[in-house]
Symmetry: C2
Subunit: 450 residues, 2 copies
């Protein structure tokens, strides 16, 4: 496969063809391009060009294109389409994708769009999905699945299955329900291929099937599916009725988004933004953390102000405040990152106490090594052993406390049910800056006997 | 589904049963436990208990358990097994998992283990896989797949397929090859279910199939599979011959590892470590970045030393060095994180120049807002407008430069083919600390006319 490459030339060519309205050429140029790639092209076009292209291309392709577009581009295009046209696109989509798109439409046209969907079963399924929280298994699942009753025989099952399979892009498992629609188990395609036509489903199905509750968090569903290597998982309601199915491709998106979110939080970016977002959006995501940092820095300045007299005498101590603050920040971020990641991957076992002891031993080991280096440097540079010793001993204390705060904070937040990822990045760096500087001056003062 | 929960009670119970050698109870207790959960239990046992359990349980279960264990636990258990026993486990595994385990065995027993595998076809496939780089599509793929020749008819194909499917856990697609084994296209199970028995494969197959080259990087494979929502992708060699297949569950692992790695790098952790690793392993991963930070701090101290005279007169400037350093670090980390993530997700389009201009405008906007706050604070606190102005103006300059460095560095590294993720975290904080402090003093000096 030659991978598709989005080039300026290609975008220009398409823009030219749109301007000169050469529909046949456009159609044949894009015919063999995957819908995900068409979406990448359209993301680069202006609103009118984008709308033109969506209206031109086949709706069984453009429906998939719509699901892959950037949210703002999709919003703009849908704003230029009639309710009937939008309904036509939704007709082609799986219920989960259709529900996601409806969820983004202005409230006043939702009713209209749904009433224009010709396939009433499809419309019903979409409406069912709308009532689930976006941030739950119900919000992820699709209604498309293949299910059979345990009272049927294999022949009836195959017949019914072929019919249902028409509407299901990928058949992973055939789910078996009883007459109350309660999920009982599953059949694999392989089993079905090898079973006798007259066998009862009751006698051949596998009475064990992983499933998730409709209220389960997406991250939990992701953990279950990736731990058990599942490609699809049925979703059941509170009394065990089969209500939908989640496939691994949606879970891959959840994992990516989750990872992106944690990464951004660690870097002090509080909303989901991308490099191509507007300066205003980027500022809104970044400024709050910077203001936090500013407050932290102002706090540090006030603390240092309290030691001003000492500094006139021991100016050298001043010179190392950025070093102390930086080390406190770095150690804090390292410790918290390991804990946050361990919590995300369910790797953290054992008590908080033993975890803290381990982290402080680790910090002590690192601290001693670093302090030895710093002692040597400062002694050689300034020739004053006692001051060098005071600075180095402070560094050890600061690193141990920074390790403690970095470990304790995410564990504490997690216990309280707060996402520990906020504890990495600016939050930990700022608090460690302040604590670090305070500890530094207090210990230095003690050692120097001021 | 009641999710499995690993508890101390369960581990204790199992340890007791192992000590009293109650094999029947152990077997029935673990019979219905998923292999991924059994692996979690065994990770908590000591070497002898773990080996006992692996030897006790059915090998079709323990082979899967082995693939899920922590690497050091698996190594210890395999060290207690004979070549014949190891070969017995490999016999039950898919070729990719078997090859991964063989790759971890000591060189001197590999030959012996392979010769003990009874299924010679399986052994041959495993040996084929051993020659691929772990960090490539070849290193990820399995040999298990269903392929048919384009010259066959549907009936022959179904017969052959049933036979092949015996060895394939999940059939996603049926790959179509010509007589030279060149990948031509695919058949979906659905198509096969609805095609006539006498049709030629040549006439019913889909002549378009995504594939990846055997030398492709795992991250690229992950991007392709998640972009195109694929659950499996065939792997071809340099001349297009079908050599293997990669499934989405392996890709989920790649995505998770990739995200973990970037996150750790941003936090200044240079190797793949987990919270439960030894203090020594954790130190090796963390100390190098801390030493870098120490050098940075020492550099900052030397720079500040050059301004020592100025400080005696304007001590207040000193008080804000931690604030300046922290802001430079935070802005740098934010900017670099957005670029690193954009590069990872292929979101970065356009020239480096326009990217830098945008980032500097953004930094300017943030800088002016933050400087206004700082001006107010310092003026009220110290009552000296000129000094407050000097500090605030410096802050703007520092933030703009920090944004520039944070944006430029990862873009530059990426152009040079170096993983830009190393540019986030300690690397950027440290260099921004130094530049920040230097700029701060120079500008403050200018404004105050010292």
């Amino acid at each position: 496969m030659t991978p598709f490459k989005l080039t300026d030339e290609l975008v220009n060519e398409i823009e030219q063809l749109i301007i000169s309205q050469e529909d046949t050429k456009l159609n044949s140029l894009l015919e063999d391009v995957h819908y995900a790639d068409v979406a990448e092209i359209i993301n680069e076009l202006n609103e009118n060009e984008a709308t033109y292209l969506i209206k031109l291309l086949d709706s069984d392709k453009t429906s998939d294109v719509l699901t892959e577009l950037n949210e703002d581009v999709r919003e703009a295009i849908l704003g230029n389409m009639s309710s009937k046209e939008i309904a036509g696109e939704l007709e082609e989509l799986d219920t989960d994708d259709a529900a996601d798109i409806i969820g983004e439409l202005p409230q006043e046209i939702v009713q209209q769009v749904i009433s224009e969907i010709e396939d009433r079963e499809h419309a019903k399924d979409i409406v069912d999905l709308l009532r689930y929280d976006e941030n739950s298994a119900g919000g992820l699942m699709a209604k498309e699945l293949v299910k059979v009753h345990d009272s049927w025989n294999v022949l009836a099952c195959v017949k019914e299955m072929r019919e249902q399979a028409e509407n299901v892009t990928r058949v992973h498992s055939i789910y078996v329900v009883n007459d109350d629609d309660i999920l009982m188990g599953r059949l694999s395609l392989k089993d079905l291929l090898t079973a006798k036509n007259t066998s009862k489903i009751k006698d051949v199905y596998i009475p064990k099937v992983d499933s998730v509750n409709v209220n389960e968090k997406p991250e939990e569903v992701a953990k279950i599916m990736s731990k058990y290597d599942l490609e699809a998982i049925p979703v059941v309601d509170e009394i065990g009725r089969l209500v939908g199915r989640i496939t691994i491709d949606d879970i891959v998106d959840v994992i990516r988004e989750e990872a992106d979110k944690d990464y951004q939080m660690a870097a002090g970016i509080s909303q989901d933004v991308e490099a191509d977002d507007s300066i205003w959006e980027l500022t809104r995501a970044r400024l709050p953390w910077l203001i936090l940092g500013l407050f932290g820095g102002a706090g540090a300045a006030v603390i240092m102000g309290g030691f001003e007299e000492m500094f006139r005498q021991y100016t050298i101590l001043f010179l190392f405040t950025p070093l102390i603050a930086a080390m406190a920040g770095n150690v804090g971020v390292q410790s918290s990152a390991i804990i946050v990641q361990g919590l995300a991957n369910d790797d953290i076992k054992g008590s908080i106490g033993s975890r803290l002891v381990k982290e402080m031993l680790l910090a002590l080991l690192n601290g001693v090594i670093l302090a030895a280096l710093l002692l040597l440097f400062t002694w050689v540079w300034k020739g004053d052993f006692l001051t060098a010793l005071a600075i180095s001993l402070s560094l050890i204390a600061v690193i141990v406390v920074a390790g403690f705060i970095g470990t304790f904070t995410p564990l504490f937040l997690h216990k309280r049910g707060i996402d520990p990822a906020i504890a990495t990045g600016p939050f930990i760096t700022t608090s460690n800056d302040i604590f670090g500087i305070l500890i530094y001056f207090m210990i230095a003062k003690m050692v120097l006997g001021i």
